[in-house]
Symmetry: C2
Amino acid sequence: VARWSPDARERLERAALDLFQEQGFAATTVPEITERAGLTTRTFFRHFADKREVLFAEDVVPEVATRMVTDAPEGLAPIEVLAEGLRQVADTRFEGRREDLRVRRAITATDASLQERELRKWAVVRDSAAVALHGRGVPDTEARLLAGLGVAVLEVALADWLAAGDDSDHRPLADYVDEGLTVLRRAIAPRPGRG
Amino acid sequence: VARWSPDARERLERAALDLFQEQGFAATTVPEITERAGLTTRTFFRHFADKREVLFAEDVVPEVATRMVTDAPEGLAPIEVLAEGLRQVADTRFEGRREDLRVRRAITATDASLQERELRKWAVVRDSAAVALHGRGVPDTEARLLAGLGVAVLEVALADWLAAGDDSDHRPLADYVDEGLTVLRRAIAPRPGRG
């Protein structure tokens, strides 16, 4: 067993995902993961709090949501800050990882505690985005509403993007995000001719 | 111990909430709850799957979300179905229960598993509303987006309504829902003079 390995994290992730797929999340132990990866459990716990976290550690973290909002140019309307932030998250954190994300999603679907962890992840991202929007001067309630809307749009976009076929015309996640915002904009606008 | 009690459920709920407040959720056992209520554990498990469910059983259930959408008059735009459904949920499931809901929310805030259960509740309500909207002919993606928006609005409205002071001018939850929809409508509308 190597004492130090520069790619330890990736090897642990690969081994864990493979084992979760082969024998199920619940049946897989940390020692099995480390044995498969050729590393020690001590190394595992330097990288992950538990086996559940292997599935979530690489995902959109609250810091990313915060930075996207904080770094947006001044003078943008809050919805434009949000839309631009969502597109950037799509491009930098999800694009190019479709197969990997499908595998993770399929594993998550098999276990209630993983599903709850997934929901918590989105709630934390939402709350971070709300705090960051409020920090830009958006009133508190509006900031929380926009953050909730943004996460709702991203969740739907992600599900549709992951579910889409792999033929030549598959489109980037950012397109799904834009379409989601457009659909909602049309849906909640007052209907013409009805005041 | 009474063999049958018509108000068993309410007594168990009262006893559980009191004990959760007095000594904490984690420290409270089902036998303690039933002893306080003067009922048997057998009766407890006829009403609740576990102590966690005492906090969630009386809340907005997916069936309510489904019915609100399904029963809405024909010819309403999807956003109007959603808005009317949210107002009805506010009026029939939350209004008049502010103190009780505050107590439950304070207990939920103390425990990670309760918070995750709360998130799962909202996710299930959202998914039920999406299925019901789709059943009315709303395209699948739009239905899921609107359901996500609706739950986001209700969550923010509920938080602000529960946090509001108890002075004479406190307003019904349905008003917070309407305001949330108005804020989002304005926020995501194209800005005048910017095409």
